[in-house]
């Protein structure tokens, strides 16, 4: 279980407990956090689950696969800390994680 803070583009914060094994994307979608569309449901097929991982959590959130990297390359407003949230697996090590959401997923 990890407590994750999602910060909407407008600044609103949502703190959610997400079970281990689920993805950071699922934590948002299943708890009605707006701002992550996740059209493909986590199949790494849509690039509508883009988040910015707080710099202090970058190392712990794991590496991007080359698949994810190429998908992100086409997202709007990509930054070095951009991730597809469906590709970040939740574990105890991510307790306290902070992610920020972009203005739009499309």
């Amino acid at each position: 279980m990890a407590k994750i803070t999602y910060i909407e583009h407008g600044g609103r914060q949502h703190v959610v407990e997400v079970p281990n094994g689920q993805s950071v994307m699922e934590g948002a979608v299943k708890n009605n956090v707006p701002g992550i569309d996740a059209d493909c449901g986590g199949a790494c097929a849509c690039a509508t689950c883009h988040v910015f991982v707080d710099e202090s959590w970058l190392a712990k959130s794991g590496d991007k696969s080359s698949m994810e990297e190429s998908m992100l390359d086409f997202a709007s407003e990509v930054q070095p800390n951009s991730r597809l949230s469906c590709q970040i697996k939740v574990s105890d090590a991510l307790d306290g994680l902070i992610v920020r959401l972009p203005a739009s997923q499309h």
Partner: protein, 415 residues
Amino acid sequence: MSGSTIQRVLIVGAGQAGGETAQRLRAGGFTGEITIFGEEPLPPYQRPPLSKKYLAGEWGEDRLLLRPASVYADEGVTLVLNRRVVWIDRTAKRIRLEGGQELPYDALVLATGAKARALPVVGADLPGVHLLRTAAHVEAIRPRFVAGAKAVIIGAGYIGLETAAVARQLGLEVTVIEAAIRPLARVTSPEMAGFFLDQHTAQGVRFALSAQVAVIKGQSQVSAVGMADGSEIPADIVIAGIGVAPETALAELAGLNVNNGVVVDRAMRTSDPDIYAIGDCCSRPLVHYGDRHGRLESVHNAIEGAKIVAAGILGQQPPKEEAPWFWSDQYDLKLQIAGLFGGYDHLVQRGDMAARKVALFYFARDRLIAVDAVNSPAEYLGAKMLIQEGKSASPADLADPSIPMKDIAAKARAH
């Protein structure tokens, strides 16, 4: 009807399209009543994992659900499950449920999806013969879907091939029977079909192509599939993936315009302006393809329909249509498709089939109309963007993997 007079929205079908409609309505500020009726026991769930991670046992039911059941109550959305809507009275603007109860609507959304076609042969009702459309179907499949069992999959479309891949992964013996001369005959080019045929063959899947099933044999349960040429393929379990038929019964009874799907306009309105139809059950204008009508079976289409209907009911600007998109996961191959390939006259290959990283771009004359991208997300996203914007790309550039896809797309967009 103007947005402000709509107080009661009834949604028929608790699938992805129905569930998303309720969510989008609330997200957009709709404060009236929303009720979703669904025939299945589960709240809206995702079907794609049914032939992927859910079938493989990697995902449980909680991850299948689009959102937990509690969220609907939190949002003031009434979910009525295990109940079929049987009648629409368009004059009185009421629907009738199985059992007789009637309810009024201001706006009605048909999100009734599609039904898997049953095998039209004797023996199709034997225990061990299955369809794969619902979570309940997968539960029924599981006990016989075990290592060492002989699985016969009838129909080599995406669902059939995904099922074959999971079956091999779990250690079943797998034969795929297909009536056409190649797998994926309706959905992709011979070149891409050949690639997937080779991949499955390398994984130990046997294929019977141009093959007709005549009968399913067995005493108390399935034991073999009897072919039209007299041969027999032994089977402990048979899974048929021979396509779906849109669920249009309600619309037909109500006298709505139906033609391979409930016919809708760009706002997803049926021939009755108070009734919308979205998702697998509708036939909609394909705006990137000269507005001809077509029926799509995809998550993209379900979600987009929901967004457009919600915007319509709220009197808001609808989103711009995306190029149709789809994906399929088989083994470690991720196929991503954008656009519709039908009517292509030539294709351009980028990448290498042997390296299992390849994209095929389909052209109608000089226009890019679709891409099939295997483990090639940049090619998929780049082409999707171009198709959406009605832009093409230089075939020579596309065929040259040393030019990054992003640069090709940027150049094409600047044109």
